[in-house]
Amino acid sequence: MARTAASKAAPPAIDAATAESWRQWLRQMLLIRRFEEKAGEAYSLGKIGGFCHLYIGQEAVAVGSIAALGPQDYLVTSYREHGHALARGLSARACMAELFGKAAGCSGGKGGSMHLFDASLGFLGGHGIVGGHIPLATGLAFASKYRDEDRVAVCWFGEAAVNNGAFHEALNMAALWKLPAIYICENNRYGMGTALERASAIYDISERACSYDMANEVVDGQDVLEVYRATARAVERARTEKHPTLLEIRTYRFMGHSMSDPIHGHYRTREEVEEHRKRDPITVWAKRLADDGVLDDEGVKALDADVITEVEDAYRFADAAPDPAPEALWADVYAPLGGEA
């Protein structure tokens, strides 16, 4: 039941509030872009270790989808989650400090790039096992229904995760029990070096929803407004009908899979990447804002300068911040006092 038709509707008259939020979306996308560029730089300098998966090129997905959520909602993501964390409102300082492994990091320096958490914002990680967090979202949605709350549980995962059994089992239960969950597949065409067509027997991920009679949509992931609207429809469906939705959001990864993977080479050509870079979600949105007279070039420059300052500050903060105390090694394995309630 593709709902792309609906999304073709003309944009609403742009009132001041809308204009302001649209500007904020651009700012968030710029913040993510600059944050990721800085993270890449810090990684090369050895200030960030382990695996580091950048979100550059996919900014519109996190910003547009998270803009449609409420403060009470639950979010769970994969290891490629810096963008989602920033879009949800985690500070650049807390995120950068976590990448640096510092005590001031959003996970106390124990999680790192793949495990950003902020429970106070319903941002429940940052998970490293492909597909592993999808059932968690089903469980968060189950809890919402169990308590008859107005919360929606949203998870983001790559197109390669849909072939995994965890996806299949989690979506079947969500549909069977009508849980308020939204499954957002960020189809960036590759799982590491494997193109979608080499891993999945069907190429329209959204059709996997048919196995569960679940609402689904294919969305242009380079257009933040399209992403926002499709997610808003799914949120509405979840809040009112308690029905889950599978969104296939088509986007592209501009960088390598992780810092150790070149941008192009074995599995995709420079030309392919260049082609996709032409639809950079930031320029696409900046143009739209200009066309609609919401923000001109100067305004974009100003926002960019603003986020660059924020990212530089986060970098200095993270660099200067102290490491966790040695005793931190032994903390948080179990609840304090052995966990007896």
Binding site: P135, L136, G139, E169, A335, G338
Partner: protein, 326 residues
């Protein structure tokens, strides 16, 4: 005190905790309409309804993960695995999610969940259905592993497990469900992490847990007839292991045999041996011996199966060896 079966003691614990805390729910295969594959959840669906007693598809990975998510949201899921053999399909969620969440979130996200069901062998279920994995789960920091041997401990430990703030692997025994014993009514809590002397003795210590407690008690009885006084120490919790209780007993008896149902290699007993020889080496009058399941997949034929299991004769033989009587 009422005499209950191990099965009904678990049922009582579930009923009491579900009545006490609306956040506690039971989920798994056949726990509801079917009243439980082993009837542990008998009557709970009628009493608490389908939102709190949830029958699942045969998707261990999925519903274990669902439980973890629900626990992250603050509910108190009790996830039943029809048997722990099938939990191998869910082990990624137990080890990579439940056991890691608190740590990798820097202490922000708790995962108060109980994974429970029967472990080990029953009768003639063959190799895929007759495995004991407690040493695997006990290997993993972030998990607690609880294995009651008696109805009273089953009730008291399950209640404590449900109230615990950390993920618990709670392993029962199909062969224990029908065993009977006195069980305190109402608020009966057994602390996690405390072993229990099931029979006092002076000549040697038999360390055991779960089904092997009965094996050890039978052996101790027969040894008594030969004038040998064996202490039977039931670990009850495998992680955290009650090392002080083990050392206290063995330091008194100076001899020890560890009995377990599972395979020997890197089993629970290997860790017990490691603790004893490291901490009270000079107290030992003999090497610690172990009686375990045979190092083979479980055969179906009943005679072969019997030969594969730890039993009183094997424990008695080991006891006599540590006493240098043979």
């Amino acid at each position: 005190m009422a005499v209950l079966t191990y099965r009904d003691a678990l049922n009582q614990a579930l009923r009491e905790e579900m009545a006490r805390d609306g956040g506690v729910f039971l989920m798994g295969e056949e726990v509801g309409v079917y009243q439980g594959a082993y009837k542990v959840s008998r009557g709970l669906l009628d009493e608490f309804g389908p939102m709190r007693v949830v029958d699942t598809p045969i998707t261990e990975l999925g519903f274990a993960g669902l439980g973890v998510g629900a626990a992250m949201a603050g509910l108190r899921p009790v996830i039943e695995f029809m048997t722990w053999n099938f939990a191998l399909l869910a082990i990624d969620q137990v080890v990579n999610a439940a056991a890691k969440l608190r740590y990798m979130s820097g202490g922000q996200v708790a995962c108060p969940i109980v994974f429970r069901g029967p472990g080990g062998a029953a009768l003639q279920l063959a190799s895929q259905h007759s495995q004991a994995f407690e040493s695997w789960y006990a290997h993993v920091p972030g998990l607690k592993v609880v294995m009651p041997a008696t109805p009273a401990d089953a009730k008291g430990l399950l209640k404590s497990a449900i109230r615990d703030e950390d993920p618990i692997v709670f392993i029962e025994g199909e062969m224990l469900y029908n065993t009977k014993g006195e069980v305190p009514e109402g608020e009966h809590l057994v602390p996690i992490g405390k072993a229990d002397v099931k029979r006092a003795g002076t000549d040697l210590t038999l360390v055991c847990h779960s089904k092997s407690v009965q094996v050890a008690l039978k052996a101790a009885e027969q040894l008594a007839q030969e004038g040998i006084s064996a202490e039977v120490l039931d670990l009850r919790t495998i992680r955290p292991l009650d090392v002080p209780a083990i050392l206290e007993s063995v330091a008194r008896t100076h001899r020890c045999v560890v009995v377990e149902e599972g395979w020997a290699f890197a089993g629970v007993g290997a860790q017990v041996v490691d603790e004893i020889q490291r901490e009270i080496f000079d107290e030992l009058d003999a090497p610690v011996l172990r009686v375990t399941g045979a190092d083979v997949p479980m055969p179906y034929n009943k005679h072969l199966e019997k030969a594969a299991k730890a039993d009183p004769p094997k424990v008695i033989a080991a006891a006599k060896r540590v006493l240098y009587l043979e």
